[in-house]
């Protein structure tokens, strides 16, 4: 509000705010709270699992937030959350930054990163791309779909925030460097959701997306790898044939709370297997 308050109201608001601040800090440090954050690829699994877990343990409250693999790791390493979700491995720089600390990684499943394109481009004939072609698009050498035999439309190249696990896997395959620069990029998005909506909104976009996010507006191209066209299907990810696959992990500190341990045991157990498949990924066991 733009009006001035009188000093009494100000003091009361200040006191109330202070009260809420203190109580909320106490509440989040509670032993029966589990704070989880990180990769938006792993999030659907953990989110569904948390719902199921809460039915059996109604006194435990679990908060699951997004943010991306990088945020998940650093928040866990700084002990701001209990469990970090990552769709990539911990990088060298990250380990260097937290020298001396030990982290424990549990793998929940496998996923494939699809090279996603607008469905209009797919139906206009672009159904497979090679690593070199994708590299040329992302480095700005190829600017129009017609160069690749598609419609005469400029390519909307959608990149991702640098710390995202999905980007690491994609860039490692395309450029050989997980943190490569994409000089031909036109837009930068964050979560899988944001990337999906940016590709769906356009009719000539290309981007990197977990294959579980492919829908009728966002198609995935088959990768031309060693002479064969390989689609990011569940079978190809399971068999290892699809070249851009990655583990879906949760990472924790060495010492964690009892509640965290219980939830992790649950996550690795048989009840979560169908949830992983329902989310569109390959369970690890």
């Amino acid at each position: 509000m733009v009006h001035k308050f009188n000093s009494y109201k100000n003091a009361i608001y200040g006191a109330v705010l202070f009260f809420f601040l203190i109580t909320s800090i106490i509440a989040t440090a509670n032993e029966n709270n589990l704070r989880i954050a990180g990769s938006t690829t792993v999030l659907p699994i953990v989110s569904r699992a948390a719902e199921k877990f809460k039915i059996k343990h109604p006194n435990i409250s679990i908060s699951v937030n997004a943010g991306g693999s990088g945020v998940g790791f650093s928040s866990m390493a700084d002990r701001r959350i209990d469990i970090g979700m990552m769709s990539r491995k911990i990088s060298e720089n990250e380990r260097k930054k937290y020298k001396g600390q030990e982290f424990i990684i549990y793998t929940l499943g496998r996923d494939g990163v699809a090279c996603a394109i607008s469905s209009e481009i797919f139906s206009d004939g672009i159904t497979a791309l090679s690593k070199e072609q994708i590299r040329d698009i992302y480095s700005g050498k190829i600017k129009n779909w017609k160069t690749l035999g598609g419609p005469d439309k400029k390519i909307v190249v959608v990149d991702k925030e640098r710390h995202r696990g999905t980007r690491h896997a994609f860039m490692k395959y395309i450029f050989g460097n997980p943190t490569a620069r994409a000089r031909g990029a036109r837009l930068v998005s964050g979560s899988n959701n944001e990337e999906q909506s940016k590709i769906a909104q356009s009719n000539s976009a290309i981007g990197m997306l977990s294959q579980a996010w492919i829908n009728k507006n966002v198609a995935s191209v088959a990768l031309v790898h060693e002479g064969m066209q390989i689609k990011p299907s569940i079978q190809n990810i399971k068999s290892g044939a699809y070249p851009i696959s990655r583990d879906l992990d949760i990472v924790t500190q060495k010492n964690i709370s009892i509640v965290a341990r219980q939830f992790i045991e649950f996550l690795l157990g048989p009840e979560v297997r169908p949830l992983i498949e329902k989310s569109g990924y390959v369970p690890i066991r």
Binding site: V2, G14, G70, H163, S189
Partner: protein
């Protein structure tokens, strides 16, 4: 209470200097003029500074004429009841959170901008400035209206006694009297526009580059607040990346201070 606010303010500034100051000191012009932002290698702030300045300036250009016109009309030509209704609506709009505007921007505005201007996509500096213009318009309008309306009745009566028409009274009595208030409203709006994070972050495109050519507002870009919004969470607390981000925050702080001081100087000049 005032001491507490002051202490908080000084504390924030001190923190920014502590965290970001050394980085600017060491990197100097390389940081301020650098055109590439790539954590781990280069930290060039120029695209973000350009983006913040560009979207704020455009937002002001789009919103101020309309806001002032509405303020003048509401203050001078509306009956008290309608005036209060308009004011109430404006003040509610001024309080709408940025995220709401951001979501509307993503789902409606960016599609509209793309279709009307025949662009590849609607995530541009232009879209961000339209969104900001909509956000700051209620603020400028309602505060300017307050300023115009507060012209003392005696001055108006004196002028009308001298034979001035309503329009002449408006321009020679009411507006000059309201000028400091209007300038204050615009400064407040600049502050909000430069600091708005989430709404801008969702529609600006996110590319850390100055457009080619530099005046191509229909290209994707980045503002300081939007950059902080996207990258702060991944590198919280320590490290070179964090220092670079804090240095960016320090620059934003200085930009707003400079604009405020400049505006105050203008007001003082006006008063003479």
């Amino acid at each position: 209470m005032a001491l507490l606010s002051m202490a908080l303010g000084i504390g924030i500034v001190a923190y920014l200097f502590w965290e970001g100051g050394p980085f600017i000191w060491n990197q100097g012009t390389q940081f301020l003029l650098g055109l590439d932002w790539f954590p781990g290698e280069d930290y060039g702030a120029a695209p973000m500074i350009f983006g913040s300045a560009a979207v704020t300036l455009m937002a002001l250009i789009f919103s101020t004429p309309l806001a002032l016109a509405s303020a003048i009309y509401t203050a001078e030509f509306l009956d008290p009841r309608r005036r209060l209704t308009v004011k109430a609506i404006m003040e509610i709009l001024a309080g709408v959170p940025g995220i709401v505007y951001g979501l509307l921007g993503v789902s409606l505005l960016s599609v509209w901008v793309r279709d009307v201007f025949n662009l590849l996509d609607g995530y541009t500096l232009f879209s961000a400035s339209i969104l900001l213009a909509i956000m700051i318009l209620p603020t400028i309008m309602t505060l300017s209206e307050d300023a115009i309306n507060s012209t003392p009745a005696e001055h108006r009566q004196a002028a009308s006694g001298l034979g001035l028409t309503k329009l002449e009274i408006l321009f020679s009595v009411a507006l000059p009297h309201a000028a400091p208030g209007i300038a204050g409203a615009i400064l407040l709006a600049i502050g909000r526009a430069m600091g708005e994070t989430i709404a801008v972050m969702l529609v600006i495109g996110g590319l850390d580059r100055i457009p080619e050519p530099w005046f191509d507002v229909f290209s994707s870009g980045q503002s300081i607040a939007s950059k902080l919004g996207r990258e702060a969470a991944e590198t919280l607390g320590s490290g070179e990346h964090w220092s670079a981000l804090m240095a960016l925050a320090l620059i934003l702080f200085f930009l707003v201070i400079f604009l405020t001081a400049f505006g105050n100087w203008l007001i003082k000049g006006f008063r003479k």
